[in-house]
């Protein structure tokens, strides 16, 4: 297929809509993940990890900003507005990623769960890497370039979570138990993570992401292989909601209200 610039993509309304769906999934996933990461600031298990996890969260928000910029170029609205002003029902992130880090609240009695945080983040990293590798075959040049650039960084995220999971698995007792229970817990929410929403067929037909089923197979394979190495059971995956179709939980509404509070005071302010 002939490579497309953003302008060329815009001329085919069906292709533009499908690319938009995929970009909203990527952007909204990273945006809410970055927000959940930042809620750990000051609370991570030790001070070096606090700095590390802060960096990872910053990168997630940076990647989201790049995807929102591509959406802006495609005519979906201003990047900052897309990030801060869209209500929950317009979001396309996976429901798994919007769930809180644990009980309590950042400012009020936080009892966050590190194992759950790391395992969930690992699944997110694995899925995003699979999608970005899939995008290497895209006909849309700017999407291909963004994927190439972000991949290099995401692999470090995955390596970071893998190291924590290996560490947790290497000790018997509470450490392994908490890891195994986090993996099972993630399975209860993870169904929509690997969904494509209504765009799957169009992504293939227009050559935006030529092989979505291959992407999904890669994710499954890598997840199972790593859990086998750790000797942790592969969880049953359930899908209580499908965020790719705009179904979300109250946790997202609450997070959006909080993260956009300042932006909504004056949406025209120059930052």
């Amino acid at each position: 297929m002939v490579p497309w610039s953003i302008e060329e993509l815009k001329r085919e309304s069906g292709a533009r809509a499908a690319a938009g769906e995929l970009l909203f999934q990527l952007a909204d996933d990273d945006f809410i993940m970055g927000y959940r990461d930042q809620e750990w600031l000051g609370l991570a298990p030790h001070i070096e990890e606090d700095v590390a996890f802060g960096s990872i969260g910053q990168e997630e928000i940076g990647h989201a900003a790049l995807y929102y910029r591509l959406l802006e170029e495609l005519g979906f609205g201003r990047a900052d507005d897309l990030a801060s002003l869209r209500p929950a029902e317009e979001r396309r992130n996976a429901v798994l990623l919007e769930q809180p880090n644990g009980t309590g609240d950042y400012l009020d009695n936080p009892h966050f769960d590190w194992a759950w945080t790391i395992v969930r983040h690992y699944c997110h990293d694995l899925w995003e890497i699979a999608r970005l590798e899939g995008l290497r075959g895209s006909r849309v040049t700017p999407m291909r370039e963004a994927a190439e650039k972000i991949l290099g960084e995401k692999r470090y995220h995955r390596a970071h979570q893998e190291l924590w999971m290996r560490t947790m698995a290497s000790r018997n007792g509470e450490s392994r138990e908490r890891l195994a229970s986090a993996v099972a817990h993630v399975g209860e929410w993870a169904g929509d993570l690997t969904e494509w929403g209504p765009a799957r067929k169009d992504l293939i037909e227009w050559g935006i992401l030529p092989d979505p089923d291959g992407v999904k197979a890669q994710f499954r394979h890598q997840l199972e292989a790593f859990l086998t190495v750790l000797d942790v059971s592969v969880p049953t995956i359930r899908m209580p909601f499908n965020g790719r179709e705009g179904q979300h939980t109250k946790a997202l509404t609450k997070a959006l209200e909080h993260l956009s509070e300042v932006y909504r005071l004056d949406p025209l302010a120059q930052w």
Partner: protein, 154 residues
């Protein structure tokens, strides 16, 4: 007036630094992608080291300010883009030296290929892939017993 050469532009940009690594210029970090001159229009493309690096807008503004001041009469365009992916192999020899002098180990080809910027020993262990900025990892030198940061290979 004769148009400035790419070398002149590069010389001017030696004065612009990444605020998080003030001892190394953006030229030596390999962040200058291309310099295009057409008539009195000068376009500079910059390559982000890491996508989410918060210093990008500041660097953009500093490049524009530096060039506007040195080259009055030219229309200066400065933009970060991804048409070429930045890689840690773009850091120049001078850049690697300056990083070392600032206490940051320059990037190796892999995470294991690292030497302590203080004592030069390769007997160092990776403590955390992520450190005080996106582009660095945290190590501990078993020889001189200092913690240090290293630029990530990318």
């Amino acid at each position: 007036m004769e148009n400035p050469t790419p070398e002149t532009i590069e010389g001017l940009l030696q004065a612009v630094h990444d605020p998080e690594i003030p001892s190394v210029s953006i030229v030596d970090l390999g962040m200058v992608g291309s310099v295009e001159m057409a008539g009195d229009v000068l376009n500079v493309s910059l390559l982000p080291t890491f996508v989410g690096c918060p210093a990008q807008r500041l660097i953009e503004a500093q490049v524009a300010a530096r060039l506007s001041k040195a080259l009055p009469g030219y229309h200066i365009g400065v933009r970060f883009n991804l048409t070429e992916a930045w890689s840690s192999t773009r850091i120049s020899e001078a850049g690697r030296k300056a990083l070392r002098a600032a206490g940051i180990a320059p990037p190796g080809r892999t995470l294991d290929e690292v030497a302590c910027p203080f004592c030069g020993s390769a007997n160092a262990v990776l403590e955390n892939l992520f450190a005080s900025t996106s582009c660095r990892s945290l190590y501990y030198c078993k020889q001189c017993r200092n913690p240090f940061e290293a630029f990530k290979p990318l």
